[in-house]
């Protein structure tokens, strides 16, 4: 976590090798990412980016896009279930065969994010990257998704970028970034009582959640 411009999304871009980086700065499974074939590296990663992009195609096709060729219908249904997109299918006359307009204009922000999540999940990734991926999803649905992801992500690596700290309280490691540097790291309990920037943010977020409920 960190403020806008702290360099959070850059980490994801570099992990996916969208940009070149000097040798020996980023390792996956102990291997310099530059030495891993691009297809293999990206094949192991599923991402839900901040500025997600959907294609003007059927919902089904947009989800299947994440998998390899020929994704089975039940795999799509399962991914839609994990991302809780399934809960909204009633709204679409054609359900999963619903055409979504240019860049997904017919979907709400939350529906777009959940479609993108299903797309990443159907990939069965070794590493799942959620970059502010549920910002437009309401907190109730977000909790439902988190419960399902917890099961799905057993044995897989998850990288979460978020502004809502409540989403990462059970993370194994939290990095606090400021201007491209790690200023704090640890688990939630340690950081929340450390009196640093994380603790301050945690406090103010609890306050603002309280306010929002009032």
């Amino acid at each position: 976590m960190g403020r806008t411009g702290a360099g959070k999304s850059s980490i994801v871009q570099l992990l996916l090798r969208h940009y070149k980086l000097a040798d020996g700065m980023l390792f996956v499974d102990g291997r310099d990412v530059n030495t891993i074939p691009l297809a293999q590296l990206r094949g192991a990663i599923g991402t839900v980016p901040q500025d997600l992009f959907l294609f003007s195609d059927k919902l089904r096709a947009n989800i299947a896009f994440g998998g390899r060729n020929g994704v089975a219908d039940d795999a799509i249904a399962r991914a839609a279930e994990i991302s809780r997109l399934a809960a909204d299918l009633e709204q679409f006359p054609d359900r999963l065969d619903q055409m979504i307009g240019e860049r997904g204009v017919t979907l709400s922000g939350g529906q777009k994010q959940r479609t993108a999540l299903a797309r990443a999940v159907v990939r069965e990734p070794k590493i799942l990257v959620l970059d502010d991926a549920l910002s437009a999803v309401d907190s109730h649905t977000e909790r439902e998704i988190q419960e399902r992801l917890r099961v799905f992500m057993k044995g897989r690596t998850t990288i979460v970028i978020t502004h809502r700290l409540s989403a990462i309280t059970d993370a194994d490691l939290i990095l606090v970034l400021e201007e491209g540097r790690i200023v704090e790291q640890g688990r939630h309990a340690e950081l929340a009582s450390a009196g640093g920037p994380y603790a301050a943010l945690w406090k103010s977020q609890k306050l603002s959640e309280e306010l929002a409920r009032s």
């Binding site: 806008t4 969208h18 240019e102 860049r103 977020q205």
Partner: protein, 596 residues
């Protein structure tokens, strides 16, 4: 539902209503169009006289060995050829002059209309689509004029002229030639139908190819992230192949039609040689007349061919015109009332009276919101994300109109003011400052001629923007989008203050930027802001401590309703929502770097 298949409707049959509307754009140039028709008639006349002179020359001087007479006819023929060329030149120049002016008028009208359309319209319509309307669709309308209207008429006149000349030279041969015309017409008709569908299909395929390409380039990062390059390539190959096949199919129609027409034509010519040859031997036909007739038969197929071909262009132009007119027919959601009043001067009183609003008609954003700002006073609005703060600005600026209640300025509903004259008194400063390509000065003045350089400089000085501007390589002449003059967030904000001040608005509407700037810039911004607000009614979505401390009144907005209201000190004492918000957004005591 959205109209994402709209681009695929590329062919449309002749539509009298659309044509009638299009003719409205031709009306201002009627005299020139008349001239074009005269020039066209003259050209065709000269073109048709040529063979007659030829005939006279062959049958007269040539047959009798009169060299002087031959020279006279040759001279006459030369004049006719020159005349044809001259009229062709004048005709083509005139039609293009008119066509280009029609394009200019239409584009102006479209752009003017786009500027009048409300924000909601641009939420619905992607930029790319609007670009196509103003550029290529309008261009197609030029075709509707040149190919559709003028050339079509020219072809018809030519056709009738040729037939008339044929009968004039030899009625018997002409009748024989005409006997062939049903066959030619049938072939043309069949071709037209086949070509229409093929052509339409081809255009649909290219449109699909284009939109897929466009989408793929936009979504390239996603494609690469998911490693779907091969699948997308396959899809592209499919679309690309379909386009190739449909193009070949269209070309096939043409490649059958033209030789087929040639064949029919050759057959008729053969018949004419046969019948005409006998006639010459019988003495019923002169050699000259035969040659002239020969020439006319050549001219006979040309216009038929042209008309068949232009039909396709006409279809595309019809479809384009329908789309262009559709935009022109979109009424702006926010409109100046027919008996709206101009707002020459304002005191600057702002009132929201029981205002309710929703963007989608379902989720309420503002609910029965009421507040008032006295002239010259300032009101700061605070609240959590989604409380409806920006919506207040959207309603005051009339980017949207309220669903219930009224927004009043100087006691009068904003809907009763002339929109442009009302907005002239409202100065809007947004979080994201939009810079136009151009110099600093141009970005402050925004094309307003009444703002001279001195006022630009004064405004910049008054809000502390002059310091960074003077450090730029060319000062006020520096181009804002060029390298070396890239402005920081803080500098952009100062520039936007100068822009607002230069326009000297009665009411200042400000959405304070949340992004952090360095301490020195922060002080410059705070000081500049106070000077900008001085003496003006100000409505500010506050994110700065200094702003709420200086505000005459603070409104705490929560879920589209006013939760608390008062001055800073009063609200802090109240120990309610404001106090918490204050701690949260303006006064992070624990760690200064951690506010979101």
């Amino acid at each position: 539902m959205t109209d994402f298949h709209e681009e695929e409707d590329l062919g449309k049959d002749y539509d009298r209503r659309l044509m009638g509307r299009f003719l409205g754009y031709v009306r201002p140039y009627l005299s020139l169009v008349g001239l074009a028709f005269l020039l066209m008639a003259a050209r065709i006349g000269f073109e048709l006289i040529g063979p007659l002179i030829f005939m006279k020359a062959v049958d007269g001087p040539l047959a009798s060995g009169d060299t002087e007479g031959l020279l006279r006819y040759a001279g006459l023929f030369g004049i006719v050829v020159l005349g044809t060329g001259l009229f062709e030149f004048l005709y083509s120049w005139t039609t293009n002059y008119v066509g280009q002016n029609i394009i200019l008028d239409l584009r102006m009208q479209l752009f003017t209309h786009l500027q009048r359309l409300s924000v909601a319209f641009f939420d619905r319509n992607p930029v790319g689509r609007l670009m196509v309307r103003v550029t290529s669709d309008v261009e197609n309308l030029n075709e509707l004029f040149t190919s559709g209207l003028v050339e079509f008429a020219a072809d018809l006149v030519m056709l009738f002229g040729v037939v008339a000349m044929m009968f004039y030279t030899n009625a018997k041969l002409a009748a024989l030639m005409l006997a062939f015309s049903p066959l030619i017409l049938l072939a043309t008709y069949l071709f037209r139908n086949v070509a229409r569908n093929r052509y339409r299909e081809m255009r649909t395929k290219i449109a699909r190819l284009n939109s897929y390409l466009n989408e793929s380039v936009n979504g390239m990062r996603t494609i690469q992230t998911f490693g779907r390059e091969q699948a997308c390539l396959d899809r592209f190959r499919g679309l690309n192949g379909e386009h190739r096949d449909s193009s070949i199919a269209a070309a096939f129609a043409y490649s059958v039609f033209y030789p087929g027409l040639e064949c029919l034509f050759a057959l008729s010519v053969a018949l004419i040689v046969w019948v005409g040859g006998y006639a010459i031997l019988d003495g019923g036909l002169t050699v000259g007349a035969f040659m002239a007739f020969w020439y006319y038969t050549h001219k006979f197929t040309m216009p038929i061919r042209e008309i068949a071909e232009k039909y396709n262009i006409l279809q595309a132009a019809m479809a384009s015109s329908e789309r262009v007119f559709k935009i022109l027919d979109t009424p702006p959601d926010v409109r100046t009332h027919p008996d709206a009043l101009p707002a020459p001067t304002l005191r600057g009183e702002v009132e929201f009276d029981d205002v309710s609003f929703s963007y989608d008609g379902k989720t309420p954003v503002l609910q029965n919101l009421s507040f008032r700002i006295e002239p010259g006073k300032s009101l700061a609005i605070v609240g959590l994300t989604g409380a409806g703060k920006s919506t207040i600005i959207n309603l005051l600026m009339r980017f949207y109109d309220p669903v219930g209640g009224a927004v009043r300025v100087d006691g009068r509903d904003v809907r009763e003011y002339d929109l442009a004259s009302l907005r002239r008194h409202l100065g809007l400063v947004l979080q994201d400052v939009f810079l136009f390509a151009g110099t600093i000065e141009e970005n402050i003045r925004l094309g307003e001629k009444s703002i001279d350089r001195a006022r630009v400089e004064d405004s910049a000085r008054a809000v502390n923007a002059d310091r960074f501007i003077s450090r730029l390589p060319k000062g006020f002449e520096s181009n804002v989008l060029e390298r070396g003059a890239a402005l920081s967030t803080g500098e952009r904000q100062l520039l936007s203050f100068a822009r607002a001040l230069a326009f000297d608005p009665r009411i200042l509407v400000l959405d304070e930027a949340t992004s952090s700037v360095d301490g020195q810039t922060e002080r410059l911004i705070q000081d500049g802001l106070l000077r900008l607000m001085k003496g003006r009614t100000s409505l500010v979505i506050a994110h700065r401590l200094s702003t709420i401390q200086h505000a005459d009144r603070i409104l705490v907005l929560h879920h589209g309703k006013v939760r608390e209201e008062g001055r800073h000190e009063e609200l802090v004492k109240l120990d309610g929502m404001y106090r918490k918000l204050y701690q949260l957004q303006f006064h992070p005591i624990e760690a200064p770097g951690a506010a979101t």
